[in-house]
């Protein structure tokens, strides 16, 4: 078990994340395929995700260094306690999901949510290139357009006001320097 834990620990974070997502996608199809599990697929998927994280955490505890100073409890003790406690709680939760017969709410405008999620991650990624001010203004503009705002005045005023607010309140008043980005690195702000 220790060797297995060490081998997982040696993997890059993105590989573990991809593996996690792959298992979640697999579970999604499994839950959708089952007649009994289909109406509760979302609730079960959230529960499975938490259990999967707990399983990973439990396995990794075998790779923790055991300090010679440890008396009674080691670094692995509490994670194991919580992981083991999750077993009956998760079983109880799964039972209650089926028993309550409270089916998943259908997804609403999930495409809009996904576009916003991608846009916000992209906006954060762009900080290093075009800086916080421009990137956040563009994100606000994009989100307003996605939310079907079509009046020119708010479309211009809100991003500009936000840029000014974040500059004067955070950068000037609270002395929190925000990323300028490579494009504006020459600016003396």
């Amino acid at each position: 078990m220790k060797a297995f834990a060490k081998s997982i620990e040696a993997l890059p974070a993105w590989v573990i994340l991809l593996a996690f997502l792959a298992i979640m996608v697999g579970l999604f199809f499994v839950y959708r395929a089952g007649k009994k599990t289909r109406p509760y697929a979302g609730q079960l998927l959230v529960l499975s995700g938490i259990c999967l994280i707990a399983l990973l955490f439990y396995i990794l505890t075998f790779g923790f260094k055991v300090s010679k100073l440890a008396t009674g409890a080691t670094a692995a003790t509490m994670p194991r306690v919580w992981c083991i406690a999750l077993i009956p709680v998760a079983a109880l939760c799964a039972y209650s999901i089926f028993r309550s017969k409270k089916v998943d709410e259908p997804f609403g405008r999930w495409k809009l949510v996904f576009i916003v999620i991608i846009a916000v991650f992209l906006s954060v990624f762009l900080y290093q290139y075009i800086g916080y001010y421009l990137s956040s203004a563009l994100f606000i503009l994009l989100l307003m357009l996605l939310l079907e705002e079509r009046k020119p005045l708010p479309l211009v005023a809100v991003p500009v006001c936000w840029m000014l607010f974040s500059y004067f309140v955070f950068a000037k008043f609270l002395f929190i320097s925000l990323p300028k980005g490579q494009l504006f690195s020459w600016l003396p702000i």
């Binding site: 974070a13 999750l86 939310l147």
Partner: protein, 507 residues
């Protein structure tokens, strides 16, 4: 008692300067605004404004956040009365009678009752807070690590079990929060855990991005999913406040609801919403005209608002005395204290007495400001519901990102905030409450530290030989067993009439 009053007077002295008073006033105004906007909860308002306090002194930062907490709890009632749209979940009960009163042309009466009940309910709870938290903290100071551990378990289990009908999901959420807390360097032995080679994870999961992500972004993602692009237009009735003498006849319901709200607020996880519902039920039972409830009973508005405000003081009792938050907003406040390197709990009374008593004083001042601002600005506050969602949602996003970045000027925190936003959305969608996750993150470290210390000091026996530890564990067991038993009883009751009806049919 005299000592408490003297220390509170010194707390007032510490706040009688322009900066502190202006910060409390700003907090109250922002809180009322936030509370009046449907979709912004008190916890979200405090979480969003938390980054603004980094550069302030701990006292200034905390009193401003307290102002937001108090203001937001009242703010929700304005739109509930005027346009039947509760700004906060707890204000839903205010709408039961507030809106019928407004529709009947008595909007000013409802608005005035709401303000007076909120103010006096809040003041009652501060007195209870002052005189209950100090003795409780003195008792807690004598606790051993095993008792602290048991206390934390009790706090977590009570929160989880008070998660309503779906308490099992609350328990899962608590354990998820506790697991997240395991990330980073072990607090006792310094062993690194679950860092996956990412340097940003060595310090563990940062509190502010988790809070902002779960409470603010999760909420906005959920709102975006149901966004229909339509901006509701409301008709607002004209209203005038009654004379102050009018409120005198409501003194008993205000007092009763304030006490009930405060007592409910003490229980971790109960919060203002449960307090409002319970107090409404209590007031209806006491009323000579229970049939008027739901059709415009002034006592209904009193019950909802006085208890809602009363729950604020109640929620602060376990926070200050034991380091356990009584509501999700109190959990955010714990995060705020920790950011300023303060450890909530009984030691706060000995280590930072100035801060604690300034906090008490700030609650008095905030209630006073709320009363004045409410009198002056009710007509104005109600207009905030006109802010189009096309502007509100982008600004919440922008504020969330900026807030999480400001903690350590770290892009990793921004990414964490976004990830927790998505997690918060999925949890909300599938009815897994977010507040227990935060409590798990907040209390996890304290639990681990005390668990290890208890083992070092007294070995495993300290968990089953010390009477106080056993009592606390027994309360925990009772707290877990209670919803299971009550649910079974309710199910039996539900089955009984059906069975009775069936047997009657057979006969």
């Amino acid at each position: 008692m005299l000592e408490i009053l003297q220390l509170t007077a010194s707390g007032f002295g510490a706040l009688l300067n322009v900066t502190s008073l202006v910060l409390i006033l700003i907090g109250v105004c922002v809180g009322i605004l936030g509370g009046a906007i449907p979709g912004i909860s008190p916890s979200m308002a405090v979480a969003l404004l938390l980054p603004m306090t980094y550069t302030m002194t701990p006292t200034q930062g905390i009193v401003m956040l307290m102002g937001i907490y108090i203001g937001a709890n009242y703010g929700g009632s304005i739109t509930a009365v005027a346009i039947n749209t509760p700004g906060t979940p707890s204000a839903a009960v205010t709408a039961f009678d507030g809106y019928p009163l407004a529709k009947a042309g008595r909007g000013g009466e409802a608005m005035g009752i709401s303000l007076w009940a909120s103010t006096f309910g809040g003041l009652i709870s501060i007195f209870i807070l002052m005189f209950a938290s100090v003795p409780l903290a003195k008792v807690a100071l004598k606790f051993w690590p095993s008792e602290y551990f048991a206390l934390c378990v009790m706090g977590l289990s009570t929160v989880a079990t008070l998660g309503g009908k779906e308490w099992e999901k609350s328990l899962v959420a608590v354990l998820f929060g506790l697991l997240l807390n395991m990330i980073g360097i072990d607090p006792v032995l310094g062993v690194k855990r679950y860092t996956f080679g990412i340097n940003a994870l060595y310090d563990g999961v940062a509190m502010v991005p988790v809070l902002i992500g779960l409470f603010a972004l999760g909420e906005v993602f959920a709102n975006l999913e149901s966004y229909d692009g339509k901006q509701r237009k409301f008709e607002r009735p004209e209203y005038h406040f009654p004379r102050p003498s009018y409120y005198w006849k409501l003194k008993v319901p205000i007092l009763r609801a304030g006490i009930v709200g405060c007592l409910i607020g003490v229980f971790p996880g109960a919060g203002g919403t449960i307090a409002s519902f319970l107090s409404y039920d209590v007031e209806k039972r006491f009323s000579k005209h229970p049939e008027q409830f739901g059709h415009g009973a002034p006592e209904g508005v009193v019950a909802a608002e006085a208890s809602n405000s009363g729950s604020v003081g109640g929620a602060m009792v376990p926070l200050l005395a034991l380091g356990i938050p009584g509501s999700s907003t109190a959990a955010v406040l714990i995060g705020a204290l920790m950011i300023h390197n303060l450890t909530p709990g009984p030691n706060l009374f000995t280590d930072e007495p100035d801060l604690v008593y300034a906090l008490f004083a700030s609650m008095f001042i905030a209630n006073l400001f709320m009363f004045i601002v409410g009198q002056v600005g009710s007509r104005l506050w109600v207009r905030v519901s006109d802010i189009p969602k096309t502007i509100l949602y982008p600004l919440i996003f922008a504020f969330s990102i900026l807030g999480s970045y400001s903690v350590k000027k770290s892009m990793a925190d921004v990414i964490a905030c976004l990830v927790f936003g998505v997690i918060g959305w999925l949890m909300k969608k599938y009815h897994y409450p977010a507040a227990p996750v935060v409590l798990g993150v907040v209390l996890g470290r304290l639990m681990e530290l005390n668990f290890s210390q208890a083992l070092m000091v007294g070995g495993p026996a300290s968990f089953y030989t010390r009477p106080l530890t056993l009592i606390l564990f027994a309360i925990t067991l009772a707290a877990i067993a209670y919803p299971i038993i009550s649910e079974r009883r309710a199910a039996k009751k539900k089955d009984a009439p059906e069975t009775g009806a069936e047997s009657a049919k057979e006969e």
